[in-house]
Structure formats: C-alpha cells, structure tokens
C-alpha cells in the first residue's frame, strides 16, 4: 500500500483545517472573546503538523481504492480530533469525549449535541460548531481535490469514499473540475440562503450559523429551542433550503448547463419529492386536530419531514409529543434519507429505489423463473455490481445498526431512546425520540455509548465501508508493517 500518499493527504487536510480554524478566530475578534486564542493555538498545531507531514512529497501519486478509502477515513478522524481541541482547551466542554462527540457530530453533519445549554457557549465556539457542518456537508476531500493538484488520475477513489450514494459519477471528465463545480453549486446555494435569511430580518451571526447547519444538512442550532423561536418566514426558508440541499447535485449541474429536460427527469429526485409530499400530507392530517391553526400544522409537518428526510435535525417543535402515526412516519423517512450526491445522510433514496426494485424483480422471477430482467434507473439498466453493492450495504447497515443498539443498551435506557439514538447518529440526523429527542440531548449517555455513537456517525457519513476497512487486518498489516525494499538487507 502506498502509505506516503496517505500521509501526504492527511497533511493537506490538516493544512486546510488550519485555514478553517482561522474563521472562528475572526469571529472571536469581532465579538472580543478571549476564547478565540484556543482556536488560534489549535490552528498553529495543525499548521505545524500539516507542514511536517507534507514536507516530503510521496514518490508515487498513484493510489487505489484501498488507499483512497483509508485516507478518507483517517482524514475524517484526524479532522475531528483536532476540531475538538478548542472546545476542550477552552473548557467550554470539560470532557474530551464530549468535545470529540460534538465535533464528530459537526463534521458528519449529524447535529447530535451533548450540550444542555447551547446558549452558554461563546460566539466563536457556536460559529465553529455550525461551520463544521458546512465543511462536512460537501466533504473536505472533495475540497482538497478542487484546490490541490494531485495528478495521477486515480483520485476518483478519494471522491468515491467520501461522496454519498451507491455509485459516484463525474459531472465532467476531470475530477478537479467536477469537485470545483460541486463546490461552486454548494457555495452559490449557501449565499442564496443567506440572502433570503437576511431578508427575513435575522442577525448576520444567526443567519450564518443556521445557513451552515442547513447547507451541510447538519442541524446544530444556536438556541436551546433550535429553530422554534424564529419567525415562521425563517422556518419556511430553512425548511425549503433543507429540501433543496437534499437533492442530488447532478440536477443543479444540469440546470447550470441548461439541460432542463434531463434535469427534471431524474427518477431519484422525483421519488424524493413524492416521499416528502406523502409524508407531509399524512402528518398534517394526523396533527391538524391537536394544533389549532392549519398553517401552523402544515409548517410544522413540512419542517419536521424536511429536517428528518434530509437528516438535518433542526426542529421547530417537540415532535416527540406527536401521535404515534406521525412519529412512525418520521422514523421511516429518517431511514430513507436524502438523495445520493447531496449533502444529506440516511440510506439514500436511490438505494431504496434499487432495493424496492430488487424485491419486485425477485417476485417476477417466481412467476417467470427464466425471465431476464434488469433493474433500471432513469430508463437505463443498473449495473449488477451496483445492485450487489447496494444489497450488501443494506445488510451491513442493518447489522451495524443492531449491534450499536445492543452496545448502547448497556446504559439501561428505554428501547425507543436506544433505537432512535443509534438511528439518529448512523443516519447523521441529530435528535431521535424519547431521551434522545429534540428537546433532550446526548449528554446523559455513558462514555462507551458515546464512542459507539461517534463510530456510527462516521460510518454513516462515509457510507460504512471506507471506515470499516480500517478494521480489516489486511489494512493494518500494510499500514503499520514496513515493507522491506527489494535488495535491502535485514
């Protein structure tokens, strides 16, 4: 395995993190907060380490899927470790596990918090929390690909490990241009939301924090009641943008190149919108009786569905108090998640489509056992390899899910809490139900459970396998055991 390229990529990631850490410093200067110094210290540490790691250029720039996956998983771990330092150093989150949990939750765009009183945090820490969502949403390695020249051609393996979805396609022939286009779309939409939010009369700081949370489909609020305290206009804007950020970015690319018909005919996006409409309707009918005004009921129903299907995790109301039907619908959309190639989490709509079509195909094969039938998406046959990978993904997802529930159950909390806590973390959602619900936080879990949940968050964000292969003995051997060069004596 090409270890030097992994080292080099980690170095580059740390350098990028240095730059990112300077933003909260800036916020600290504006609000005259002394906590900013800890961000500056962390930035310096990252810079020094980054420079040390990139001092020697790797001999070979070629890397394969295993290097790409390992580099991605390690990058995310290392980013979270350093991102957690300021919280811990400044004493705002006294326990390092908690600080790490908060940062992992930020980078993976989960939005699950261990803080009971968010408003007590300094502005720079609040900014950093939300900013991690924005970085994690599109992925730092995609950013790396956009800015750093890594010639060699096999970089698709980095992107594959980080981008969500069953298959990763490029928009344009060059990966660098693809990565740039993705970031341009991401950036453009973020700016658009900021404009809409500012038009609603929100303060700049709140606007930025909430927009970062929405764009990355993260879900860290800066108020204890999340988005609940803001005006209905802001809630509508946030809800609509959450849905938009959960759409496959291919659609925006096609819009950008004026291929309207093709853009509007993406099957995954159709299904995604149909799912949203159905869920909102069911919940609206279900809760309309309890909530007096119809407009409020619609707003809450739409907001909660969009926040959970895109795995954002903001909330306008405590849906834990809603009737069972509504809660169950919410759990279902939590599982399904957003579109592939978006910033959202979950199993992804396209995978669900493939799984459902596989079931249909299986049924057809009982009626006509010799029938040849290919699963199709957008009118094109899906390669067998992708169908297989989707099935394995689902099985692995289920197994990890139940093992995590089992591990968390040691804390002796009730089943709904355990189940939805794991659900909310592995799908990068944020709040679950009961003790992990929107009005509660994850602070009451034990350290062991927190570690399990952190693993779930990373596994969910990186779509399981890039993280799982780090536990494969074959990778350890290659990572840690130095290869003897041919001809070299012992």
């Amino acid at each position: 395995m090409n270890n030097s390229i992994i080292r080099y990529i980690l170095g580059c990631v740390l350098k990028i993190e240095t730059i990112l850490l300077l933003f909260p410093c800036l916020v600290a200067i504006i609000y005259k907060e002394d906590k900013g110094i800890y961000y500056f210290i962390t930035a310096c540490i990252c810079l020094v380490l980054g420079i040390l790691l990139t001092l020697k250029k790797p001999e070979s720039l070629v890397f394969y899927l295993k290097e790409g996956s390992a580099a991605t998983a390690l990058s995310w771990i290392i980013m979270s470790l350093f991102g957690a330092l300021p919280f811990w150093l400044s004493g705002e989150i006294p326990s390092f596990t908690d600080a790490l949990f908060e940062t992992v939750s930020g980078f993976t765009t989960t939005g699950a918090s261990i803080l009971s009183d968010v408003e007590a945090l300094s502005h720079c820490s609040l900014f950093w929390r939300s900013f991690t969502h924005w970085i994690g949403g599109m992925g730092v390695l995609v950013f790396l690909l956009a800015v750093i020249p890594l010639s060699g051609g096999s970089q698709i393996n980095l992107m594959r490990a980080e981008s969500p979805g069953p298959s990763v396609g490029k928009l344009v022939p060059k990966i660098k241009t693809t990565a740039r286009l993705l970031y341009i779309i991401y950036f453009g939409m973020t700016i658009l939301q900021i404009i809409f939010m500012l038009a609603g009369g929100l303060e700049l700081f709140d606007t930025l924090a909430i927009t970062f949370g929405t764009a990355g489909t993260g879900g860290f609020g800066i108020k204890n009641d999340s988005i609940g305290g803001y005006s209905p206009y802001i809630q509508w804007v946030v809800a609509i943008f959450m849905v938009l950020f959960g759409v496959n970015f291919n659609m925006y690319y096609l819009f950008l190149y004026r291929k309207w018909r093709k853009a509007l005919s993406i099957e995954e996006v159709h299904t995604y919108f149909i799912l949203i409409i159905i869920s909102v309707t069911v919940i609206f009918i279900n809760i309309a009786k309890t909530i007096g005004s119809a407009s409020d009921a619609l707003r809450h129903a739409f907001f909660q569905v969009s926040t959970l299907i895109t795995s954002t995790g903001f909330s306008t109301t405590d849906y834990d108090l809603w009737p069972q039907t509504s809660k169950t619908v919410l759990i279902v959309v939590m599982f399904i998640g957003a579109c592939a190639g978006s910033t959202g989490g979950g199993i992804k709509v396209s995978r669900v489509i493939i799984l459902v079509k596989s079931i249909k195909k299986e049924m057809a094969s009982y009626i006509h056992p010799k029938c040849i039938q290919k699963i199709k998406m957008d009118g094109k046959p899906v390669e067998h390899e992708i169908v297989r990978a989707t099935n394995v993904y689902f099985v692995a997802f289920t197994i990890i899910f139940f093992l995590s529930v089992l591990a968390v159950s040691i804390d002796n909390k009730d089943f709904t809490t355990n189940f939805t806590a794991v659900l909310a973390t592995i799908n990068n959602m944020g709040p679950g139900l009961a003790e992990a619900g929107p009005a509660q936080n994850f602070g009451s879990f034990s350290i062991f459970s927190k570690i399990v949940l952190m693993f779930d968050m990373l596994a969910g964000r990186l779509e399981l396998f890039p993280l799982l292969i780090l536990f494969h003995p074959g990778i350890w051997k290659e990572l840690f055991i130095k290869k003897r060069k041919p001809g070299q004596k012992k």
Partner: protein
C-alpha cells in the same frame, strides 16, 4: 503508397501552397491540404488547459491514448460497449466513461459531442469507426480521426478522408510495415525515425563491443572527423536517458541516437564499421495484414519476400495479391519447416504472427541460428519494460505507433494554442521531448553563438532550419529571427524558446 494526412501546427503559419512536408510521428507522411488548414483556423479558441476529446473504443490503442492524453490534461470522455472496460479505465485515469454505441447520435450527444474538439474512433471495426466519425462530423464541430485497417479501405483512405472530412485515418498495420521496411533498408539501426519534417532522420543504434566509438568523448570524435554532420542527441544507458554534452564518453552497450541527413548517416555508420547495405531477402512468418503491407513495400525495393502462413485459403489470397512473393503454406513455428526454407542463410527475419509469445520465441530462435536482422512485432504494450530487457534487437509496437501518431496530432493542435511551441513530440517512451520553436523576434537567445549561451542541463539544440536549409548546429552557430529551431530535452513544459536558458 498511401499518404496519411495530418496537420502539424505549421500550417497555420505556413501560408504556402499544398506542400507535402515532412514527418513527425514516427513514419507517417504528412500532407496538408487546404481544407485542413481551414479547419484549423476555424477551431474555437480555447484555453491552454486542454482539448475536449472523445475516444470511442477502449481496446489497446484506446487505453494507450487515454493514458497519454489524460496525462497531458485533456478532458477525455470514453465510449465503449463494454461497461467493465470503461469502468477500469475511469478508475485508473482522470476521465469520464460512457457505455454505449459510439456511432449513435444519442450516445454522442450525451458524451458532449457539441463541445468536443476531437473524436477518435479506434474500435475493432473499420465500418463502425468511419460511421462514428461521419456522425460526429454532422452533429458537432470537431475534428475526427478513424482507425481503418483492412486493405480494401486503406487503399482508398486518402479519398475516404477527404470525402468524409476526417482529420486523419490511421492504419497500425501499414504504419508497422513502413517501419519494418525502413529498418530493412538500414539494417544496422535499431530504429529509424523521420525527424524535423523529414529533412533529417533520427537513428538509434546499439554500440557493440570493441567499436571505435567506445571510450571516446564526443568532442574527440568531432576532432577526428568521424562524426561529421552528425549530432548525438540522446544516449540510453542502464535504463537512463542522458542528453550528452561534448565531454560525454560513450561506452559499449549504450543505445545511441543521432540526428543527421540520410546520406551523412550512412557515411558515419560505414566509417565506424557498420554494414550499411540493405538486405536482399526476408522471411515473414504469418500472413496477416501487416505482412501484406510489408511485402507490398519490400518487393519494389528489390527484396525477395518469403511468407509462411498456416491458413491455406489465406495463402491463396496472398498469392493472388502478391504474385512476386513466395508464399509457403505451413506452420511458421515448426523448426523443420524453417530449416527447410533456409532460416540459417536468410538476411532478415520478421515474425508477424498475431501472438506475441510466438513472435518472441521465433525471434530468439532466429537470433540463435542465424545472423539475420530480426524485427519483432509486439501487440501488447503492457510488458514493454520486460521485453526491452530481452535482447530482441528491433522491436515494433503497432498499437504504440498508432497512439503516437494520434498523440502527435493532438499535441500539435494543443501546442499551437497560447505558446510558441510549433510542434512537440516524445521520444524514448516520453522520457525525452523534442520541441520545435519558430523564432519570430529578437530575444536573449538570438544572434549569439550557442556556446556562449547558458543553456539548461540535459538540453540540446538539435537542428536549425533557415531558408529551407537544415543546419546541424555547432558551438559557433547562432539562432536568427525567422529560424525554426528544434530542441531535445528531458525537461517538460517549455512554452517559449527563452525557457532553454538557465
């Protein structure tokens, strides 16, 4: 003889008439016609980042092209019917793949033919390639290159090219045959390549033991008058490429490349004790397309040709096509048959079967039993490094020749955008670059003797063309405005003639 057409960047500057100018890509003769010039001028202006290229067909040639062109930062979209091949290439190189029929309008549209600069069709089928190009020419505003191999079409390739408006028609078998023929004409050389528009040749040979060149510095040779009008431009020693300075000492076993005119090259080679006679007879094993093309070229040169082919029907066909050649029906790998046909006394031996392993074994056998000049054809390029360790003598790679010819076209097209490089091409597996600059104005490098310039290391001024004459420069020569200068270097990324200075 078939003339391949191909447009070097010169055409833009050359306001001259329909001149058949020389050659860059290995052995492909370049003719530039008027419509090509128009096509070049009408090209949409583009940044230097690269061209939008669509490659149809991901076989060996397609893969080689993908590898090279993606390294040179072009935007490449691949089309092939087989999704696995596409997937494999898209994983290895920075390119986008598309599964489908490359001749279909819809597939071409999806691949972005409207914005493409160039479509290269290199599938197995000649007809499909021509159809791809025809469709592409109608749909998009791009140049098109097709591979056409069967003799039926290739004899009409000039006509086809013109009528279909193609930029280039390539034929690997014919190109290979050209190369073999040139080698048989000068059997002592490992490779003979036309250079600088064909006015000079780049000749590669291996220095044997006890040659008078061994342990001599290049300056010394010049003083003795051995290497008159000959310029040593690269030496390959232990897998490393050295661009020699005057103080460089040659050693036995070096693979030496030099540039000179054809006559000077023969003089030089005979002075240092090489045999410069062309061969009188040749034995070809395998009667495929390449064998046919080769025989067709060798027979008029007065070389006796003997072809051994195992398929009886093919033998009859060849006999009809090549009445002067001796066609033998039999297994070319049969030792008895080879002996019977006199392999021991043959002057040259060319195994051209479709199986690389057979070709290599036949070569080794022929070198063992006879003193014949042996030229081996290798189809697969994956094991090039291993093969170069075997002592096979001259080896030709038809796929590589094809890829090189297309690359030269693309490079010329790219190089003419935004830099002073007129043409650029690669030698020694892309480890050495040769660039041609047109000197349009006075600068630090003009009007001073070359020996007074502070040149970069591993760089050589190879030839200067002035008023239609080719000068092989010595230290006292000067570059003047209006000259065309060819430099050879191991550096990359030169944009300007001034880049040659430290």
């Amino acid at each position: 003889m078939v003339i391949y057409r191909f447009t070097p960047a010169r055409c833009l500057v050359d306001t001259c008439f329909y001149t058949i100018t020389g050659i860059y890509a290995r052995n492909i003769l370049i003719a530039c016609g008027a419509e090509m010039r128009l096509e070049m001028l009408g090209r949409k202006s583009r940044k230097k980042t690269g061209l939008n290229i669509i490659i149809v067909g991901c076989g060996k040639v397609g893969a080689t092209l993908t590898e090279q062109l993606s390294k040179e930062s072009h935007d490449i979209t691949l089309i092939d019917k087989n999704p696995e091949k596409i997937q494999h290439l898209a994983n290895t190189y920075d390119v986008m793949g598309l599964a489908g029929n490359g001749a279909s309008y819809n597939v071409q549209m999806e691949a972005g033919i409207e914005d493409a600069d160039l479509l290269i069709a290199v599938t197995d089928s000649d007809e499909l390639n021509l159809l791809c190009c025809t469709v592409a020419k109608r749909v998009g505003d791009c140049a098109a290159i097709a591979r056409v191999r069967t003799p039926d079409y290739s004899e009409e390739s000039a006509y086809l090219r013109q009528k279909l408006g193609l930029a280039m028609i390539i034929n690997p078998e014919l190109a290979a045959a050209h190369e073999v023929a040139r080698l048989l004409y000068l059997p002592t050389a490992l490779e003979v390549n036309p250079f600088a528009h064909g006015r000079v040749e780049l000749i590669k040979f291996k220095l044997p033991e006890n040659n008078i060149l061994a342990n001599q510095t290049i300056v010394n040779l010049g003083k003795k008058g051995v290497s008159q009008n000959v310029l040593f431009c690269a030496v390959e020693r232990d897998g490393e490429i050295i661009i020699p300075t005057g103080m460089f000492t040659l050693a036995a076993g070096d693979v030496v490349s030099f540039v000179s005119s054809r006559r000077d090259a023969r003089n030089f080679l005979s002075k240092i004790g090489f045999d410069i006679k062309q061969v009188n007879n040749t034995m070809i094993i395998g009667g495929g397309k390449a064998a046919y093309y080769l025989a067709k070229q060798l027979l008029p040169m007065g070389i006796d040709v003997k072809i051994i082919e195992s398929n009886f029907e093919r033998c009859e066909e060849l006999n009809a096509l090549l009445p002067k050649a001796i066609i033998i029906n039999g297994d070319g790998t049969n030792e008895e048959l080879l002996k019977e046909e006199g392999i021991k006394n043959i002057e040259s031996f060319v195994p051209l079967t479709g199986i690389d392993e057979e070709n290599i074994f036949l070569t080794l056998y022929a070198r063992e039993v006879s003193n014949a000049k042996v030229i081996t054809k290798i189809n697969r390029i994956n094991f090039k490094n291993v093969i170069s360790h075997l002592d096979l003598g001259s080896v030709i790679y038809p796929k590589y020749i094809t890829a090189e010819a297309i690359l030269a076209y693309v490079r010329a097209k790219t190089a003419s955008i935004g830099s002073n490089v007129e043409t650029l091409y690669h030698m020694f597996d892309s480890r050495v670059e040769a660039l041609e600059f047109l000197i349009d104005r006075e600068s630090e490098v003009t009007n001073i003797p070359i020996m007074e310039m502070n040149l970069k290391k591993n760089l050589l001024l190879c030839c200067i063309q002035r008023n239609g004459k080719t000068i092989i420069p010595s230290g006292t020569d000067m570059i003047m405005p209006g000259d065309t200068v060819v430099i050879v270097t191991t550096h990359t990324g030169f944009d300007n003639i001034q880049d040659i200075l430290v």
